[in-house]
């Protein structure tokens, strides 16, 4: 079993005016492989900042706190080292990479992650199979990464990578946004297939509860204003679905929540 541990994380960004703006104000979270965590919260609460910070996006500046993976300092690793250590971020807005075909990209990434080129025959079969399960047209393999893909297609391609790269921890940053019901099902099935193998910890970042009908979280954390305002089991998601975020917002600044659950 592996453990991703986030301790009292403070993160800020530099605004266009050059000032520093604090986004995360002390977040602690422990995720074990095999567990599924949902991070919910209103827009601007810092959910995506947490995801990008774990992946190492240069825009996010860590002021204090730590992230460790089985005791190893993640913040000390470069972006690619983090990926090779087993962290995967399914991006909220996957970028188009012109001139690089999906086939080339997937094989290059797999080779980098495994430290050796995948056996060609198995790899081609794996890719085909995963694409067909996610209902991605075969001709996408020859297209440039994300180029001209619709929002839903981009999200499916993120989950395709999740299934092919088999990370230890997957952070899904609003993978559900922009998906219609059918696409949401297809994408959720992909995540569940990988998660149910047991070797992966899943962090599901979402604004809405609808994806939680398909991916059942073991733990739910509610982000408000850069902190975890409340956490609990799946029943918390049901309550949010019924009540919305209003009670957190009207009470803000929110209480720090019960650290006992973490």
């Amino acid at each position: 079993m592996s453990t991703l541990e986030i301790t009292d994380l403070h993160v800020s960004i530099e605004t266009e005016q050059g000032a520093r703006k604090q986004i995360l104000k002390g977040v602690s979270l422990t995720i074990n492989t095999g567990e599924s965590h949902a991070i919910m919260g209103p827009n601007g609460s810092g959910k995506s900042t947490l995801a990008s910070t774990i992946a190492g996006h240069p825009r996010y500046l860590v002021d204090s706190g730590s992230i460790t993976l089985d005791g190893e300092d993640v913040l000390d690793m470069s972006v690619d080292e983090r990926a090779r250590a087993g962290l995967f971020l399914a991006m909220q807005y996957p970028v188009e990479v012109p001139g690089v075909t999906m086939t080339n990209f997937l094989r290059t990434a797999k080779t980098a992650l495994d430290g050796k080129a995948p056996s060609l025959r198995h790899w081609t079969k794996d890719v085909k199979e995963a694409m067909s399960q996610l209902r991605i047209d075969a001709d996408f393999a020859q297209r440039n990464v994300n180029e001209g893909f619709s929002g839903g297609e981009k999200k499916r391609v993120e989950i395709l990578q999740l299934e092919l790269f088999k990370p230890r921890f997957a952070i899904l940053d609003e993978t559900d946004s922009g998906l219609d019901v059918d696409a949401l099902k297809v994408v959720s099935e992909g995540v569940n297939r990988e998660h149910n193998k047991g070797g992966m910890g899943t962090v599901l970042i979402t604004h809405y509860t609808r994806i939680l009908r398909y991916i059942k979280p073991d733990f739910v954390h509610v982000f408000v204003d850069g902190r975890i305002a409340e956490q609990g089991g799946p029943e918390l998601a049901d309550r949010l679905e019924a009540e919305g975020y209003d009670r957190f917002l009207t009470n803000s600044p929110a209480p720090a929540g019960s650290p006992a659950g973490a």
Partner: protein, 421 residues
């Protein structure tokens, strides 16, 4: 008054003018005062102020060097070129022997070396700048490659141009694809040189011709090349510029449609390293109806003072109804200290066209691309190479000459390795 002058004197060869296209694109009434080589006389004195042309179509064309004023670097078509680095091409006699020309490949074509008085000299081109005119006056003999009518070349035509010294020299080549012939011709430049070159290209009715000009000169080479194509009816012409090596390389390719129903594709790929100046100035002249042109040039730059210039002029003359044209230029700045100038120009004289557009973008290597690839475990160096390779491959894939594609892919790899990228 200007209008009357224009209408009363029908276009001579030198004077096919696009009337009255202002910056606003609204004043379509003719206003061609001084169209006839606006101040060719003044130019011959050399110190006249630079008078901007009202249209690209008005640019002075002449076989005589003296018709062009000495260059001072402020001319519109020379303003990006560091004249000092031309090593005398613009102001010294071009008396060097020049690079050796060797034609190999296809057997069912005709290769000749001819004198200045050969009837084919001037069949496609008229110099439109001083260095081109100087080369025209100076060349001693020309290489003429002819693909006979209704012949499909039985292999690629490889023209090796190999320079061995740096004496300023002139060179003249004529490539003729006669009616309904089909061929791929590769001009392969290497070695050391100081060369002013004119390449005339005739694409006969119904012919399909590809000309690829590869500049893989030694680091200190200086090369200017005017490559003018005259395209007949229902013909297809593909022109590809690949500039990788040389201190200063200035290519001025142009395509002139003379019969309807023809298609032109012009591609370019350039990769400038520290200190290199790679310039390309294109003209597509839609002078007749129902022709189509596509221009795609892509460049990468790395290292201190790497400089590239792309100027793409497209002219849709009044007669050219049904024209369909699009040109695009993309540049990727890989390091600090590089400079890329990109200037698309579109002049439209008729509203009755199928389409006309252009795009130009110059960007730094995108941090978001890098983040995306690195977040999948790919290290920074590999990620950069993946993107640059992909960026340039989009042009390489269009050449469709397998042996050349492979060679150019390797050349791009060498550039990447040299730049430590």
């Amino acid at each position: 008054m200007a209008e009357a002058t224009q209408l009363d004197s029908p276009a001579s060869e030198e004077k096919i003018a696009i009337d009255g296209f202002t910056e606003e694109g609204e004043n379509l009434s003719p206003f061609n005062e001084g169209t006839v080589q606006h101040g060719a006389k003044k130019h011959s004195h050399g110190d006249a102020p630079v008078i901007p042309e009202a249209s690209r179509g008005e640019r002075l064309k002449s076989y005589k060097l003296d018709d062009f004023a000495p260059l001072n670097g402020r001319e519109e078509d020379w303003r990006f070129t560091p004249l000092k680095r031309l090593r005398g091409l613009h102001n010294q006699p071009l008396t060097g022997a020049g690079p050796a020309v060797e034609v190999t490949g296809a057997a069912n074509i005709q290769v000749e070396t001819v004198g200045r008085d050969d009837w084919r000299i001037g069949s496609a081109a008229i110099p439109d700048d001083r260095v081109s005119a100087a080369a025209w006056e100076a060349f001693a003999e020309a290489t003429v490659v002819t693909i006979p009518a209704e012949t499909i070349a039985d292999g690629d035509v490889h023209i090796s141009i190999n320079g061995v010294d740096e004496a300023p020299a002139a060179q003249h080549l004529i490539i003729t694809a006669e009616r309904f012939s089909k061929a791929v011709v590769v001009l392969d430049h290497h070695g050391k040189t100081t060369l002013a070159q004119n390449v005339e290209i005739v694409v006969g009715d119904g012919a399909e011709l590809t000309v690829v000009s590869v500049q893989e000169w030694d680091d200190d080479a200086v090369h200017t090349s005017t490559q003018q194509a005259r395209i007949g009816r229902n013909a297809k012409f593909k022109h590809v510029v690949v500039s990788l090596g040389g201190d200063l390389v200035r290519m001025t390719p142009s395509s002139l449609f003379t019969g309807p129903g023809s298609e032109v594709e012009m591609y370019g790929l350039y990769f400038a390293d520290a200190g290199q100046h790679l310039e390309q100035r294109l003209l597509v002249d839609h002078a007749v109806p129902n022709c189509k042109s596509r221009v795609t040039y892509k460049g990468a730059l790395q290292g201190q003072d790497a400089h590239t210039v792309w100027v793409g002029d497209v002219l849709i003359r009044k007669e050219a109804e049904g024209t369909d044209t699009y040109e695009t230029n993309r540049n990727l700045l890989l390091t600090d200290g590089t400079r890329s100038d990109s200037v698309p120009n579109l002049e439209i004289e008729t509203g009755l066209i199928a389409g006309a557009g252009h795009a130009s973008a110059t960007g730094r290597f995108d941090d978001e691309h890098l983040f995306y690839l690195m977040a999948r475990g790919i290290d920074e160096k590999t990620a950069r190479r993946l993107v640059v390779r992909g960026f340039l491959n989009e042009v390489i894939q269009q050449i469709k000459v397998p042996a050349l594609e492979e060679r150019l892919t390797d050349a791009v790899e060498r550039e990447l390795a040299a730049g430590n990228i």
